[in-house]
C-alpha cells in the first residue's frame, strides 16, 4: 500500500533545490514577457503596416512560431544558436532567447488585436491634429490598445509561466527541474512530483484570481 513520506519536506529542500529553480522560472517569465512585448509590438506594427516588405516577414514569423510545438522551438534554438555564433551557450541563456522569440509571436497577435480594438476615429483625429505616425502610435493608439489588452495579456503571462516548465527538454534548471533533482536525491519521486503540481497550481491559480480582479478594475467604459 502507498504511504507518502513527506518528512524530507523542510526548509532545506526549499533552499537547496527549489529556490534556484523558482528564481529562474520567474526570471524567465519576466524577461520573456518584457522582451516578448517589445519584439511582439514591433511585429504587430509590421503586420499592420500594409507594406508588403514588412507585413509578409512578420506574418510568416508569427505563423511559423505559432504552429510549431514549443518543445521543438526550444530544441531548434538550442541546436541553431551555437551553430550561428560558433560556440556553445548554456541551456539557461538558450531558454531565455527562445522564450523571447516564441512569446513575441503570441504577444504580437495580442497587440495587433489590441490596436485594432481602438476605434479608427482615434487615428483620424490624431492625423487631423497633424500628428506623425510615431506620435499617433505612442500618444494615442498604443496607450489605449495596451489597456484593452490587459486581460488577454495576463492570461498569456500565466500560460508563459506554465510553459517555462518545458525547458526540461534541454535540462535548464527551472522550478520543475528543482523538484525532479530533489526527488532523485531523496529517492522520493512520487512525493516531489505531487508537490510540484501543488506548487504550480497554487501559483497559477492565485495569478489567475489576481488577473480577474485587475481585469474588473481596468476595463475601459465606453
Amino acid at each position: 500500500m502507498l504511504s507518502l513520506d513527506l518528512s524530507f519536506y523542510n526548509w532545506e529542500l526549499v533552499t537547496n533545490y527549489l529556490l534556484k529553480g523558482f528564481i529562474f522560472s520567474v526570471q524567465l517569465t519576466i524577461i520573456a514577457t518584457v522582451g516578448g512585448i517589445a519584439f511582439g509590438t514591433i511585429l504587430a506594427l509590421m503586420k499592420l503596416s500594409g507594406k508588403a516588405l514588412l507585413q509578409y516577414p512578420a506574418t510568416f514569423y508569427i505563423n511559423t512560431m505559432r504552429s510549431i510545438p514549443l518543445v521543438m522551438v526550444i530544441l531548434w534554438f538550442f541546436l541553431i544558436i551555437p551553430m550561428l555564433i560558433g560556440r556553445p551557450i548554456g541551456a539557461d541563456l538558450s531558454a531565455i532567447i527562445t522564450f523571447i522569440a516564441f512569446q513575441a509571436a503570441f504577444f504580437a497577435e495580442i497587440v495587433r488585436a489590441g490596436i485594432q480594438s481602438v476605434p479608427l476615429g482615434q487615428t483620424y483625429a490624431a492625423e487631423a491634429l497633424g500628428m506623425t505616425y510615431g506620435q499617433n502610435m505612442r500618444l494615442i493608439i498604443l496607450p489605449q490598445a495596451f489597456r484593452n489588452m490587459i486581460p488577454v495579456f495576463m492570461t498569456q503571462v500565466i500560460i508563459l509561466f506554465q510553459d517555462t516548465s518545458l525547458v526540461y527538454a534541454i535540462g535548464a534548471y527551472d522550478l520543475l527541474k528543482g523538484f525532479e533533482i530533489a526527488g532523485k536525491n531523496y529517492g522520493r519521486p512520487i512525493e516531489t512530483y505531487a508537490l510540484a503540481a501543488i506548487t504550480y497550481f497554487v501559483i497559477c491559480f492565485s495569478l489567475s484570481r489576481l488577473a480577474r480582479r485587475i481585469q474588473a478594475k481596468v476595463a475601459i467604459i465606453r
Partner: protein
Amino acid sequence: MALDFGIFCKNTLDGGVVDHCFSSILGLAGNSDPSYLDWLISAWGWTLLVSGLGLAIAIVLGILMGALRTLPDTKVVYQWLLWFSTCWVELFRNIPIIVQVFLWYYVIPAFIPPLKAVPSFWLVSMALGFFTSARIAEQVRAGIGSIPSGQRAAATALGLTTLQTYRYVILPIALRIVIPPLTSESMNLIKNSSVAFAVSVPELTLFAMQAQEETSHGIEVYLAVTALYALSAFFVNWVMTVIEKRSRIPGVVSMSPDAKLAH
C-alpha cells in the same frame, strides 16, 4: 552548409545505406534493419496515436464539463455539479502539461495500482485529454453562454427536462458555435503531445532528440519532425473545416446578431 536528407535512408544500427529507403511510406518490402525514415514514420504514428486518444478524451470530457458549468443553480444536485466542474477546470488549467504528465506517470499510479500495468502512452493521452478538456470546457461554456436565453426559456415552457433541454436545444447549437475554437484547441493538443518525450513515449520529439544526437544531422531531423507536426495540425484543421461545413444547418448561419434581433 548543405542539407543532407540522405541521412533518412541510413539504418539506425551502423549508419549504412538501406536497400529500400521509402519502403515504410509505400508499404513495399521492409528493410532488414530499420532506417531513420522507418523510425520517423513510426514516431509520427505514436504522435498521432497519443494525440488522437487525447483528443477523444478531451472532447468528451470538455463538452460534459462545459455543459455542467452552465447548469441553472436551482437544485442542490446542480449546485454540486457546478462546483465540481468549476474545480475540474481550475485544477487542470493551472498545472503545466508536463507536470500533469509526470503526475499521471508517477503519482496517480501510486494511488491507483491497476494503472501501473497501463502502457505509458495511455497515461500521456489521459494527461493530454484532461489538460485539454479544461480548455474545451471553457470554450463550450462560452458557446452556451452566447445562446440567447430565450432558447432555454422556450425549452422549459415546452416542458422539456434539463437533460432534454441540453440534448435537443442547447448543445446542438452550442457545439456548432464552438467548432472554430475547438479546432485551435485540437491543434494545440497535437503540439502539446510533444511533452510525451518526458516519459519516453517514442514519438516525434523523442525521435528528434535521439536522432539528432546519433546522426549529428540535427537540422535535417528537426526539419522533418517540424514538417510532420505542421502537417498533422493542418490535417486536423482540414477535418474540422469539413465537419463545420457538413454540420451547418441551412438557414441558420450562426446565432449571430441577426438571430438575436428576432427575440
